[in-house]
């Protein structure tokens, strides 16, 4: 038995060295030299300070920005250190109540009539709570509000949406979608930041 333990200890140590130190550190070295941006989190900087990761949703509440999907990450949502979905099932009263509230809020925000259907992604929380994407339908509905508050023509905002729409990979894998963080950054770049 002692012999077996000795064999296990030696093999385990050797394989740990290779698989758990050499391998990840080699990936670290390659990542940070060849794909430094991605390896560090695809961060966007303004005057040297990070303001966003283009992969992670952040909270946008102002009417002149497009709003991301609702989030169940952390207490107030969009917590980058506490990714989470709601984990509520189809028959959950909590889910029912939450969606009801969100539908009303979405209609009010975007001046929709009480009978108008609301896009699915706009009123449901994502799996990670950090989903940076929204559907094209969701963005198009929000365009009117964004244009009004910014005092620009709706068509110009729709143009930005069209340009920001990501197409499926190779035309077949995935669907059309819009990255909210990038979209809002583009808005600010094209039409200037809104001063309060």
């Amino acid at each position: 038995m002692f012999k077996e333990i000795k064999k296990s200890v030696i093999l385990f140590s050797g394989l740990t060295l290779i698989c758990a130190l050499v391998y990840p550190l080699a990936m670290y070295a390659i990542g940070n030299s060849v794909f430094a941006d991605q390896a560090k989190g695809s961060l966007v900087y303004e005057e040297e300070n990070p303001v966003a990761s283009t992969l992670i949703a952040q909270n946008f509440t102002q009417p002149y920005y497009f709003h991301p999907r609702p989030s169940a990450a952390g207490e107030d949502g969009y917590d980058g250190t506490s990714s989470s979905g709601s984990n509520l099932g189809y028959t959950s009263q909590k889910l029912h109540d939450a969606v009801k509230e969100r539908v009303e809020a979405y209609r009010t925000e975007n001046s929709l009539s009480a009978s108008q259907k609301v896009p699915m992604d706009a009123v449901t929380t994502s799996g990670s709570g950090l989903d940076p994407h929204i559907s094209v339908a969701n963005a198009t509905i929000q365009a009117k509000r964004v244009a009004e508050v910014r005092g620009i023509e709706e068509n110009k905002v729709i143009d930005v949406i069209r340009k920001s729409t990501q197409q499926p990979y190779f035309g077949i894998i995935g669907k059309e979608k819009i990255n909210v963080v990038n979209l809002n950054l583009t808005l600010d770049r094209e039409f200037g930041k809104v001063k309060i």
Partner: protein, 565 residues
């Protein structure tokens, strides 16, 4: 039904089969001792390891020797991981100063990662230091997968009349020659797509609107690659492959789903080579593919129906997006969920807890039948052999011939082992679920009420005993009660199957091989494929239909009548 989704499914099936074929040939060459392309780099490392540890590379082990080696190695792994986690605050690479894990969480996690389950009672980004992730959990992502492949190879050798081999050697070869080289290329691809790989402290940002947000960081890409390839499934972050830093786009998602099935499919092709008749492997593949088509179809259909209660509230009709990411939506979420529970991976790119009741039931059923629909790396193969031997035994009895598989008699000893391997995990699932549903500690952790709450409990023990690791994540499992009982279920589900399978491998390897006559029952044709698939379904249904009736089916019926909980 959307055309895009069908294209995705077809593309997935095609790539898995093509790459599985080539990797399968490579796997066979490795374990048959033939020359392979990586010999010049890896053989010296292996030889050094084997000579220092004085492993006899010439001799095949007996059942007892093999079992002792495997158990000593795995239990040693549990001990080491337990201590790393229990003392993580005293070790390096802990920029967020996370404290030590509690004894029960450390125990649960150690058993979980060593048994290839990768059930997580914790949330990675708020619990684990980089050292715990990268070294402690990281090495087990390789070794637990390699243990599974080693056992599968031992069984292939035994069934085809060879010596079962040496555990240490096969495990090491799997790690260094199969898992590591693929993970290497894989991780670089992931980084190029936006999966992070750093050791920085978490990044504080002032958001575009002027708020604050903190982003979790870490060496994710290296972990992610082996997490999928080894059907481990333990996410770096709480939400696993739904997290954009783990799985940023549709391409990485496709590769992740593909890599879950890659080695399980490759092993089937390798098996055909071992048997000297590739149709033996294809027959097993066929049964798995048939079952997979059924489960994928059911999951996809159930999910595409959407949640009626949402559309009544004024939400546009269509599949529910609660718990799903826009970039994955219906097709890629259903495919991922079906693949991850068919194989014993357990990574998720959408929250299974928020799936429709029937889809959730299908995911559970796949795990309940023992993760044999392609299954975990190695585990899927030896798991399916339980059913294959049972099928041949039943066919033999029905037609009145001595039951044989690959020309070797299936006798009482093998059937006893098969029954143990079949009953132990099932008993663990149903026993623990029943107990948890009837005690205060068990009910304390529920996130959903009504039948869906019971589903959360049943899913947890199913996932643990099947060594899957996915969850109806609403369940708060980080309590002494759940951590300990789930750890026991994982241990039983892993070694309660592995040991009987080694016994079968060793016993079959010593048996005389009879030449097939025209009257023999063959196992390399479509009849066998269908019989095998039916055996899996019928045994699974008989054992678990009552439990599913109280959970998924009850919830579905109540949902149709508009009931909320």
């Amino acid at each position: 039904m959307e055309v895009f989704d069908m294209v995705l499914f077809a593309l997935f099936a095609f790539t898995v089969v093509v790459f599985g074929f080539f990797i399968g040939n490579y796997v066979y060459k490795i374990f048959d001792g033939k020359k392979t392309i990586l010999d010049p780099v890896i053989a010296p490392i292996e030889n050094a390891l084997f000579s220092i540890s004085r492993i006899n590379v010439e001799k095949s082990q007996s059942f007892k020797e093999y079992t002792i080696s495997l158990m000593v190695f795995n239990i040693f792994g549990i001990f080491i991981l337990f201590f790393i986690l229990f003392f993580q605050s005293a070790i390096w690479l802990n920029p967020q100063n996370f404290s030590n894990l509690s004894w029960h969480l450390a125990l649960n996690t150690a058993v979980s990662f060593v048994t290839n389950t990768n059930w997580q009672s914790y949330s990675g980004e708020s619990t684990m230091s980089y050292f715990s992730q990268m070294v402690g959990l990281g090495v087990q992502n390789f070794l637990s997968a390699a243990t599974g492949v080693a056992v599968a190879v031992a069984l292939m050798r035994g069934l085809t009349g060879r010596g079962i081999g040496n555990f240490y050697i096969d495990m090491t070869k799997t790690t260094l020659r199969i898992l590591l080289p693929i993970a290497f290329i894989y991780a670089i691809f992931l980084i190029s797509q936006g999966v992070i790989q750093n050791l920085s402290p978490y990044v504080d940002i002032t958001t575009i609107e002027g708020g604050t947000q903190t982003l979790a960081m870490g060496p994710v890409a290296s972990q992610e690659a082996i997490k999928m390839l080894g059907t481990n499934g333990g996410g770096f972050f709480n939400t696993n492959s739904a997290h954009p830093f783990e799985n940023p786009n549709e391409l990485t998602n496709f590769i992740q789903i593909f890599s879950i099935f890659l080695i399980p499919v490759a092993l089937l092709f390798a098996y055909g080579k071992f048997a000297g008749n590739r149709r033996e492997g294809i027959a097993i593949f066929g049964a798995m593919a048939l079952l997979f088509a059924l489960t994928l179809g059911s999951t996809y259909y159930a999910e595409s129906q959407g949640n009626v209660m949402l559309s009544e509230l004024g939400v546009e009709e269509g599949p529910s997006m609660e718990g799903k990411e826009v970039r994955f939506a219906l097709g890629a979420s259903s495919l991922f969920a079906t693949v991850t529970t068919a194989a014993s991976c357990g990574a998720v790119n959408s929250m299974h807890d928020s799936f429709s009741p029937l889809a959730g039931g299908v995911l559970m059923l796949q795990m309940m039948v023992g993760e044999v629909i392609f299954g975990g790396v190695g585990a899927g193969f030896y798991g399916m052999m339980i059913y294959a031997l049972l099928s041949m035994f039943m066919i033999g009895l029905m037609v009145g011939k001595t039951p044989m598989y690959l020309g070797k008699k299936i006798e009482a000893y093998e059937i006893k082992a098969v029954i143990i391997a079949l009953l132990l995990p099932s008993a663990a699932i149903l026993g623990f679920s029943a107990y948890a549903a009837n005690c205060a500690e068990g009910l304390a952790g529920l996130n959903n009420a009504g039948p869906h709450g019971l589903s959360e409990i049943l899913y947890a023990y199913t996932s643990a005993a099947a060594n899957n690791g996915s969850a109806f994540a609403g369940l708060t499992a980080n309590t002494p009660f759940y951590n300990v009982t789930l750890a026991i279920a994982m241990f039983i589900g892993r070694f309660g199957v592995i040991i009987p399978m080694i016994a079968i491998a060793a016993s079959m390897s010593n048996k005389k091989t009879y030449a097939l006559s025209s009257g023999s029952v063959k196992s390399d044709n479509a009849t066998f494929t269908i019989f095998l698939a039916c055996t899996v379904l019928i045994l699974g249904a008989l054992t678990f239909l009552p439990a599913l009736t109280f959970t998924a089916i009850a919830e579905h019926v109540l949902m149709l009548s508009g009931k909320l909980f």
